[in-house]
Symmetry: C2
Subunit: 344 residues, 2 copies
DNA sequence: TTGAAAGCGCTAACAA
DNA sequence: TTGTTAGCGCTTTCAA
């Protein structure tokens, strides 16, 4: 076992390759970055030399000279969150086999922290940037306006992206889910929310809107917390809700974790789902879909958003201005299942 | 909305700060990296200048000059996996407020891909490297031996880490879980496994060991797949198992996702858990803990492993050779719950 | 199509 | 404790 001897090992450089190939360093650089600008003869010599020496470019030197790195920054509010786990997966799948890297920054739902991360990330001269939503600080917004790279704001929709945006309408999604509960014949609708970020807030507003319009809004049936979301939190919030308003007959949960918590707690209390209690989640994660009973949820294209966001960035890098639709609404889909299939 | 104009913006440099503070560039560099080597007077002047100009160092220039970047590489076999999500979280929490970045590489359970990622990562002159397990290719192992930075192999234990290691004994963990099932009076033990990576294999071996010793091994009650793990997969594997050996009375699942799938499928089939069927999961994730009935599982310190691994790296960076215990076994804990609490 | 020269912003090594 | 000098490995610019 080695101990504390981490000396840098020398790797071949551009000049080494150039010497080996009998050309100049810049010709090697060109064969790597734009082979079409190099004669076939040179190209072959260089390629042979690269192979022989096992050369690979030094990204730091390249970034310093060109003022652009191969790093794409991805700023997320949370790493615990299932939602962002899927986004991250999409982004990574999209980046694979390209010359780019992804660097994740976790700003823990703090706009100020996001701003500072942004500052640090920008120092790296990123090739692209992916942000969550539109709720940056003024200072962050200013930095974004001058960002020297393509950037995509994801998850939400809004009128004015700093550069590009892709997401869906959270308020409308909640409206749709709430209408579904009413249509199923539920009349005493409750709402459970944890970690009330801007998008959760929008869902909450959507729920209130529809309830109000239907004359069925009772604020006492709304329980939220700023703490992180989890299955246990779902149970706790449900308990709190029951303590306040035991007559609640359907619950819209801000996400599926909460919904699972409500379902399992209902089972413990022998509350029949969906007859005594309807449950609707949000996001449609695999587990919720497989519960017994299966949980109704709003399917959101999280993976797809990540995948598409990174593609937008890659396209813009390849050809600035080439992304035509710079403000995409990818929609959502209500998936009715057993947990709201009340027998009327 | 801007379109395709991503020109680099000039940021203040070290010399700008130096000029502002009335000192030399190297003094600024020193106040940032080792303030104790600078007089208080200089330090205050420099700090004021940094604040005034909003200076932040250019990591590329720094990496080029010092031959070490501030990037710490984290190579994981999967991003879908709950286990690695927790590890990643631990790593990110540990890196916060330091000057380092984490760059994740997803090698999709392919040792060859891991090797290629390693090669690419090493070109970045990483400040540290975190790898999963001990199953690197020969070529990768060779690269690791010469790695110019601290590295930690995580999740597993083994006799010979390349540099440092932290994990637990998967085989022993499975042994403990299997013994528990026998102690609870179950006699027809089955095993369900998805995505059989080396650590899953070890758990599988542990299960077989104990069953064999107890004279209760029946290979027909083992169903595994190379496909990814999920709740739906748990249901599928359970169905396959029941089709082969309907008399199975307890199942050790390779992870909690599978266990949840088994539980919900059992509920659909009206199989009573724990009386007709005992279920034991692996990892002890929040959801499994909150199912009805609550699922017995083997708690594994995933977050902690990530947190500690990054700390080992930071310690080694700060003071090479300072990490005393370079091969840590962090253990596991069986958490018996309702899903195996058979009434005898 | 190719190359020479200059320099990106920082740090290592040495000197004062 | 502070500064000077040189150069990390690449790309940009300009010229041939």
């Amino acid at each position: 076992m080695k101990k504390g001897s981490y000396s840098p090992t020398a790797s071949p450089t551009l000049s080494d390759v150039a010497r080996e190939a009998g050309v100049s360093a810049i010709t090697v650089s060109r064969t790597i970055r734009s082979p079409e600008k190099v004669s076939k003869a040179s190209r072959l010599k260089v390629e042979a030399a690269i192979a022989k020496l096992g050369y690979a470019p030094d990204p730091a030197a390249s970034a310093l000279a060109s003022k652009t790195s191969t790093t794409i920054g991805l700023l997320v509010p949370s790493l615990t969150n299932n939602v962002f786990a899927d986004v991250v997966r999409g982004v990574y799948d999209g980046i694979e086999e390209t010359r780019f890297f992804v660097q994740i920054g976790n700003f823990r739902y703090s706009a100020l922290k996001e701003q500072e991360l942004l500052r640090v990330f920008l120092r790296q001269k990123p090739a692209g940037l992916i942000l969550s939503g539109f709720d940056q600080t003024q200072e962050a917004t200013r930095m974004l306006k001058n960002a020297p790279c393509p950037l995509v704001q994801i998850m939400d929709i809004g009128p004015q992206p700093a550069d590009m945006a892709i997401g869906f309408d959270h308020k409308e999604a909640a409206r749709t889910a709430t209408r579904h509960l009413l249509e199923q014949g539920y009349t005493k609708l409750g709402f459970l929310g944890a970690r009330m970020d801007p998008r959760s807030q929008a869902r909450y507003e959507g729920f209130k809107d529809v309830c109000k319009d239907a004359g069925k809004l009772d604020e006492k049936r709304i329980v939220t917390t700023l703490q992180p979301s989890s299955v246990s939190m779902g149970r706790q919030l449900f308990e709190a809700l029951l303590a306040k308003t035991p007559d609640v007959d359907a619950i819209l949960c801000n996400n599926d974790d909460l919904a699972i918590g409500v379902l399992t707690e209902a089972q413990r209390r022998n509350i029949q789902v969906p007859d005594d209690l309807g449950i609707c989640g949000f996001n449609d994660i695999d587990i919720a879909r497989n519960m017994m009973p299966e949980i109704t949820s709003v399917a959101t294209p999280r993976y797809d958003i990540g995948r598409r966001a990174i593609q937008m960035i890659l396209d813009e890098i390849a050809e600035p201005g080439s992304v035509a639709d710079r403000n995409q609404d990818v929609g959502f889909e209500l998936v009715p299942r057993q947990s709201t299939a009340r027998r009327r």
